[in-house]
Symmetry: C2
Subunit: 202 residues, 2 copies
C-alpha cells in the first residue's frame, strides 16, 4: 500500500462521517464529500466502491465502537441498581460527546430497515439478554418488583436516548441556551436512574 493511501482513505471517511451526521445521508452528495475532503471524486469509488458501501462502513464503525463499552456494563457482575446507574450515566455521556449520533442512527434505521437486521454492531446496540436475565433473577429472589424485563429495558433506553432525538424541540420550547441544555441532560442521569430504581423497589 502506498504512503498516501491511508491518509486519503481516512480523509474520506472522516469527512463523509461528519457530513452524513450533520446533513443526513440523502442530502449529501459524493461530490460534496470529495470537495470537502479535498480529494478527487474518483477516489471515493476507488476506495469504497459506492456511496452505499461507504455508508455501511461508517455506520458499522460508529456503532460498534460505542456499543462495546455499553454492552460490557450490561454484562458485568455489579449489582442491578449499580448497573442501571452506570449504564445510564455512560450512555448519556457518550451521546453528549456524539450529539448527532441518535438522529443519524434513527434515520439509517428508517432508510434501511432490513439491511441492519443481522449486523453485529446493531445486535450489540440492542442487547437485552443478559440484562433481562439479571432482572428476572432479582425478581424471583424477591429483591425487586416483578416486571416484564423487555418492557423495562425498552423503557430505560427510551428515557436515555429519546431526548437527544428531540433536542431542537427541547431547546426551542424551553428557550434553553446551549449550557442549559447540557445541564438539563446531565441532570437526567440521576433522574432516570431514580425513576427506574424507585419503580423496581415498590
Amino acid at each position: 500500500m502506498g504512503k498516501k493511501s491511508t491518509s486519503t482513505r481516512e480523509k474520506i471517511l472522516a469527512t463523509a462521517t461528519e457530513l452524513f451526521l450533520k446533513k443526513g445521508v440523502d442530502r449529501v452528495g459524493v461530490r460534496e464529500i470529495a470537495a470537502k475532503a479535498d480529494i478527487n471524486l474518483s477516489l471515493m469509488n476507488y476506495y469504497f466502491k459506492s456511496k452505499e458501501k461507504l455508508l455501511e462502513l461508517i455506520f458499522e464503525n460508529l456503532i460498534s465502537e460505542k456499543a462495546t463499552v455499553l454492552k460490557n456494563i450490561l454484562e458485568s457482575d455489579i449489582s442491578l441498581f449499580d448497573k442501571i446507574k452506570q449504564y445510564t450515566s455512560a450512555y448519556i455521556d457518550m451521546l453528549l460527546d456524539n450529539p448527532l449520533l441518535v438522529s443519524f442512527v434513527l434515520s439509517v434505521l428508517h432508510r434501511n430497515p432490513d439491511k441492519l437486521k443481522g449486523m453485529t454492531s446493531v445486535v450489540n446496540l440492542y442487547n437485552t439478554e443478559k440484562f433481562c436475565m439479571h432482572l428476572k433473577a432479582e425478581a424471583e429472589a424477591g429483591n425487586v418488583r416483578e416486571v416484564t424485563p423487555e418492557q423495562f429495558y425498552v423503557s430505560m433506553l427510551s428515557l436515555i436516548i429519546f431526548p437527544f432525538a428531540i433536542k431542537d424541540l427541547i431547546v426551542d420550547r424551553n428557550k434553553f441556551k446551549k449550557k442549559e441544555y447540557v445541564e438539563f441532560i446531565r441532570n437526567r442521569k440521576d433522574f432516570i436512574a431514580d425513576m427506574l430504581i424507585q419503580y423496581l423497589k415498590v
Copy 2:
C-alpha cells in the same frame, strides 16, 4: 374552481403523504408521486408550487390533526394521575394507528431544524406549560414528590414515543410477529402510567 380540482389535489396529497411516510422525503421523487397518484407531473407544481411546499403542508396537516386531541387531554381538568393515564393511552393508540408517524416527524425535524421552530402544530406537539403547572401545584400541595416538571414531561414523552422509532429493532431482536409487537406496545400503556405514577407517589 373546477370540478376535478379538489379530487386531483387530494389525490396528490394522499399519495405524497403515503410515500413520504414510507420511504422518507428525500427518497421520493416528484415523478414517483405523480405516477402513483396517476396525475400529470405538472399538476404537482400547479397545486403546490414545489416539493418543499408540499412537504410543509403535509407535515402541518399530519401534526396539527393529531396534536389537538393530545393537547386537550393535557389541558383538561381531570386529576393528575388520570391525566397521565389518559394521555399515555391516547398517545399510544394514535401512534398505533399511524405507525410511521414517529420516524417521519423525527426525520423532518433532523432535515429542517429551523423551519419548524415557530410552527403552531409543533408548538402543540410539545406543549408543556399547563401540564408542568399542574405538576408543580400538586407537588406544592404535598400530594406528589417534588420533581423538575420538564424532566418528568420529557420522560413521559420518551416512554411513549421512542419504542415506535425503534420498532424494527424491537421486532427483530425479540423475533416478534406483528401481533406480538402490537401486544407489547399495548401493554406499555399500563406499564408507563404505573412507572410514572409510582415515581410521583414515593
